[in-house]
Amino acid sequence: MRILITGASSAIARLVAGALSPKYELVGVDPRPAPISSHFPGEFMIADYHSRKLDEVFKKYTFDAVMHLGRIRESQRISAQYRFQMNVIGTQKLLDLCKQSGVKNLIVLSTYHVYGAHRMNSLQLTEESPLRASQSFPELVDAVELDHSATTFMWKHRDIRTTILRPVNVIGKHVRNTICSMLRSGMCPKIIGFDPLMQFIDEKDLARALILSLENPVSGIFNVAGEGVIAYSHAIRHAQAMTIPIPPLVSAGFVRLLDQFSHLGFPPYLMEYFRYPTIVNDDAFRKAFGYQPKVKTLQSIKNLGPLPETRNLLPSHSGEESV
C-alpha cells in the first residue's frame, strides 16, 4: 500500500511516517525542505500544493491513501494570500487528483479553529456546530474553506473513504505552532480578566489518532482532543512562562504592537481564542475509533522543552503562484 503524505516536513507528519514506514510505502510532499536532522522514510519532494509539481507526483505513483496534513497554519510570518493559495487552491487540486487517480482513502487534518472563538459557543462543540471562524476573522477563511471542501468531497464521493479530523491545540516537543512557541518562549499574552478553558493534544496522541483513522474503515468528520480542559492561566503556569497582561479593549492593537518589538509571531486575530473558550467534544471519535489519549495534558505541557533543532521556514517568495 502506498501513501502520500503532505506537509511531510512537519512534526506530526514525521511522527506518523515513522510509525507507518516499515508497513507502508510512503511518499512525502512539502513546500519546505526536509528537516536536516530526521530522514523521511520514503521519497521526499519539495512542492507547493497548487503547483504543477503535484501533478507530476500523481503521474509518477498511484496512491492507495492520501494523508493531507499540510495545512499552512496561521502565523504572522506567512501572508494570508499564500495561505489561501496553498490551503484552498492547493487542497482543491489535491482532492481533484485523488478523485482522478482512484485513491481509496483520504485523511484530512483540519483544525478546531474553524469553529471560531465566540461568546455564543456552547461549552462542548460537536462536529455539527456552526463554523463561525470566518464570520469573526476573515483571516481564517482559508482554514474554513479547506475544511469545507474536504467535507463536500466526502459527501460527493462516497466511494472514497474520507476522514476529516479537527484537532485542538497540538503541543509537543517538535511542534512549532503559535501556542507552542508562546509557551516555550516564556511570554504569553493574556487578556486581563479573561482566562478561557483550552484543550491540548499531544503530538504523539494526534499521530496515533491519524493512524487510527487510516487503519479503521470509518469515514466522517471528527473532533480530536486530548485528556481534557485546562484554564489558559494554568497552562502558562505549568509551562513556567510569564504572563503579559493585555488590556481587553485594545487587545488586537496591543498584540500587533507587541509583535513589532518582540518576536512573538502571534497573529492578532487569534487573540479571540484567548478570550472565549472554544472547547470541542470528541466523544464521537473516541467511540468510533476506540481512541483514548495517552499523554496527560500537564505532562505534555511540561515536556515542551526548547526546540531540538532549528528548522527551515517557508520560502520567502510566499504569495506568487508558481506554475
Binding site: M120, S122, L123, G193, F194, L197, V229, P277, L298
Partner: protein, 307 residues
C-alpha cells in the same frame, strides 16, 4: 515622661484587651470555615483530569479558594435556611428556580445549599446569560465554579451525564425585574421542558426567597444598558447614586425551598402548546412554593419575622 507613661499603663488590662482581639480573630475565622469542606469536595460527583478540571471547566481548587467568602455570604450575611432537601433526587435533575435581584445571587444560594447543606453534596451547574462570557473576571470565575451559558446543547450534555442543572426559565425577564414585581414569575421559556422530556430528568422547583429584595431596582435604564451591551441596567435607591457602596446587597434573610420533584412523560418534539401546558404545571408548583415561603418568612425581609 515615658517612664511615667510606662508606670501608669495597666498592662494587665492591655493584655486582656489583646487576648479579646485574638478571640475576635478566632470567631472571624470560624465564620469563614465551611464545615467538612474537604470531605464535601471529595464526595462531589465530578470526574477530574490531571489538571484538576472536569470536562465543563469546573475546578474544585477554585471553589476551595472562594468557599470562605461564599460561605460568609451564605451563612452570616443572608443567613440562608433550607427546606425540602429530602426532595433532591440523585442523578440527573433539572432545578427550576425563580429569578430576580439583578445579579445571580439566587443561583449562588441554590448552588451553595446543594454543596453545603444537601446530603450527599452536589455540584449544580447553573445556566447563565449569554452575555456573561463578555464580562471580565466574572466569566472565568463562573466557569470554574460550575456555571456555563444557557445553551440547550450544554444543558442536554450535562443531563445526559447525570448532572444537576439549575435553570431560571424567566431569564433576563426575571433577573432584571423591578422591585414592585418581586416574586411574580415572568413568562417562562419552554426549552427546559423539552430537555427534561428528552433526557427523562425530573424537574425540581426551587423557590429562593429573599434574593429578590437584595437590589430593589426601581427603574431599568435601557438606553445605558444598550450602550454597555448588558441586558438591563438597574437603578436602585443606592445604585448608581452611592457608587460602589450601592453595589452592596441588602442583607435580607434568604430561604431556599426545594419542592417535590415532578416527572413528566411525553415526547420532546411535541407541539409548543402541549409543552406550554407542562411548563405551566412547573410554574404553578414553583409559585405555590414561593407563596408558602413568603408566608412563613413574614413581613420583615431582614429578619424573616412578622412585624
Amino acid at each position: 515622661m515615658l517612664k511615667r507613661l510606662l508606670m501608669e499603663t495597666d498592662f494587665e488590662k492591655l493584655k486582656s484587651a489583646i487576648s479579646k482581639l485574638d478571640q475576635y480573630k478566632f470567631e472571624y475565622h470560624e465564620a469563614l470555615q465551611v464545615p467538612d469542606l474537604e470531605d464535601r469536595l471529595s464526595r462531589l460527583n465530578v470526574e477530574l483530569n490531571s489538571a484538576g478540571f472536569d470536562r465543563w471547566g469546573f475546578h474544585p481548587d477554585t471553589l476551595r479558594k472562594v468557599a470562605p467568602i461564599l460561605y460568609f455570604f451564605y451563612k452570616r450575611y443572608f443567613r440562608v435556611e433550607t427546606s425540602g432537601l429530602e426532595n433532591i433526587p440523585e442523578g440527573r435533575a433539572l432545578f427550576i428556580g425563580n429569578h430576580g435581584g439583578q445579579i445571580p445571587l439566587d443561583a449562588m444560594m441554590v448552588g451553595l445549599s446543594l454543596f453545603i447543606d444537601a446530603e450527599p453534596p452536589r455540584a449544580v451547574r447553573s445556566m447563565v446569560e449569554r452575555w456573561v462570557p463578555t464580562v471580565p473576571f466574572v466569566s472565568s470565575l463562573f466557569t470554574r465554579i460550575g456555571a456555563m451559558i444557557g445553551d440547550p446543547a450544554n444543558c442536554r450534555e450535562l443531563l445526559m451525564h447525570d448532572q444537576g442543572v439549575l435553570v431560571f426559565p424567566e431569564g433576563v425577564r426575571g433577573s432584571g425585574k423591578l422591585f414592585k414585581d418581586r416574586y411574580q414569575l415572568q413568562r417562562f421559556g419552554t426549552g427546559f421542558m423539552r430537555l427534561a422530556l428528552e433526557s427523562r430528568a425530573p424537574v425540581v422547583p426551587v423557590a429562593v426567597i429573599g434574593t429578590e429584595e437584595t437590589y430593589p431596582s426601581v427603574y431599568n435604564f435601557e438606553a445605558l444598558a444598550k450602550m454597555l451591551g448588558a441586558p438591563y441596567f438597574p437603578m436602585t435607591p443606592f445604585f448608581p447614586l452611592l457608587g460602589p457602596l450601592g453595589l452592596i446587597p441588602l442583607p435580607s434573610k434568604v430561604t431556599v425551598r426545594y419542592g417535590k420533584p415532578i416527572f413528566f412523560e411525553g415526547d420532546h418534539d411535541e407541539p409548543e402548546e402541549l409543552i406550554r401546558e407542562k411548563v405551566q404545571k412547573v410554574k404553578e408548583a414553583l409559585q405555590a412554593e414561593i407563596d408558602e415561603g413568603l408566608k412563613i418568612r413574614g413581613e420583615n425581609i431582614f429578619t424573616g419575622t412578622a412585624k
